[in-house]
Amino acid sequence: MASLITCPHCGVRPKEEFSIRGDASLVRPAPTASDEAWHDYVYVRANPRGRTLEHWQHVAGCRRFLVVERDTFTHEVHSVTDGAVFARENGR
């Protein structure tokens, strides 16, 4: 995408209703995790050319953080999932 996102709660919406937070594949480390784990979490990005998971917040709609599975080269959207649902499903 770059024009439209299908919000699971609100339907098809234009890009400008969203604000993009960034990589959604990262998992916040435990407080006791190593410096390296924290450094990687905050500063390092896989940055793939291809499929990626990204947090988009539907700020002008339901205000939910959505996990948008998207191709960074073709801009094709493969799936959009509610952020909390995604987090729970991925055991966070």
Binding site: H9, C10, G11, R13, P14, E17, C62
Partner: protein
């Protein structure tokens, strides 16, 4: 005793002066309505939705999963709050938003075209039918948009944005001679 205080409407300045007759395309500004945000307790989202949708005393607008805007034109804000509490029976938090929101009711044969100048949603009845509601962007302002009839829509906007939204809607409606006044 509250009547001792004047409750100032966010659009008092904009709509000051003698009301002009409503045109074919008209923007009516809700003068007094009670609005509440209902936030379902974790795990109670479905139940709350069911009880709210069964109510006829107020209208329910979808805001987000587990969150609804509830509007009443007859209740006071306290009255609405009590009523919702009675419905939800400890399954939801109710936050008074009566002072936080301004209601814009747009009616007339050109409403669809007027709104399309600011709203990216497909407003075709097949895509956004009467009774549908959602938060959406109108121009640069996030509103709750509801279709209340073939040619009538309601926008509920944050109070601080009300003047800006009013100006935007009037500009969008200029082509169709949109008129505006406080609701009767």
């Amino acid at each position: 005793m509250i009547r001792d205080y004047y409750n100032r409407h966010a659009l008092d300045e904009k709509l000051r002066g003698a009301p002009r007759p409503a045109g074919v395309n008209h923007l009516a500004i809700g003068h007094r309505q009670a609005v509440a945000m209902v936030l379902a307790h974790a795990g109670e989202e479905d139940t709350v939705q069911q009880v709210l949708s069964s109510a006829t005393e107020f209208t329910v607008r979808f805001s987000a999963p587990g969150e609804w805007l509830v509007v009443s034109e007859s209740d006071t804000s306290e009255g609405l709050q009590r009523r919702i509490d009675a419905f939800c029976a400890g399954r939801a938090y109710v936050v008074d938003q009566s002072e936080a929101r301004v209601l814009f009711r747009l009616s007339g044969p050109s409403t669809h075209r007027i709104l399309a100048k600011g709203v990216g949603l497909d407003l075709h009845p097949a895509a956004f039918a009467t009774g549908a509601s959602a938060n959406a962007l109108c121009g640069h302002i996030a509103v709750n948009l509801a279709r209340t009839g073939d040619d009538t829509f309601e926008l509920i906007a944050p109070r601080s944005f009300a003047e800006s939204l009013f100006d935007d809607l009037m500009a969008m409606g200029r082509e169709y001679d949109l008129t505006a006044a406080f609701a009767g």
